[in-house]
Assembly symmetry: C2
């Protein structure tokens, strides 16, 4: 076992923390299928633009999302495929638990 070291564990933990909010988890889940831009998320949540923007910033700060500007819009997408895998697995487990 390793001795616990805050500095070492804070960064990876922050990634999980970023996904640990219903709205942010939902966003990541939507991005499993394809990229999307801010106003699409706003429409489907009924939340304020700024609220969604802040959630997206949080995910980006945790290096979970990347952005690309095309035309007037900014497209968000998942950086790491393992996020997809883990989300899928978590969802799978939850499905099983139901039945």
């Amino acid at each position: 076992m390793d001795t616990f070291n805050t500095d070492i564990c804070s960064k990876p933990a922050a990634k999980f923390k970023a996904l640990g909010h219903p709205v942010r988890f939902w966003i990541a889940q939507q991005l499993m299928k394809s990229e999307h831009c801010v106003h699409e998320f706003v429409e489907l949540t009924q939340l304020d633009f700024s609220t969604i923007s802040n959630h997206l910033s949080a995910l980006k700060a945790a290096d979970i999302l990347s952005t690309e500007k095309r035309g007037k819009e900014i497209y968000y997408r998942l950086i790491c495929p393992c996020t997809r895998t883990f989300i899928a697995c978590v969802n799978g487990k939850l499905e099983k638990d139901k039945g």
Copy 2:
């Protein structure tokens, strides 16, 4: 895209939230290699027994850990291998970013 639904997203998000704390992330990481019991974590963190116990409870409540009692001790282990995979991937990414 799916409409956002709090009920649906809260449970999976809670799993991420559970891992979104440095100490809990570290615990999960240690359990990637082998099972351990409470006092081992206490020794290596210098935290109170109750503090560690609460962190373990949080992870268990999120269905990330399972327990087994053997003799005097209670052994904790990771339930889902995909957690291992995701942690390894997150760590790998962070390693890359450094270099």
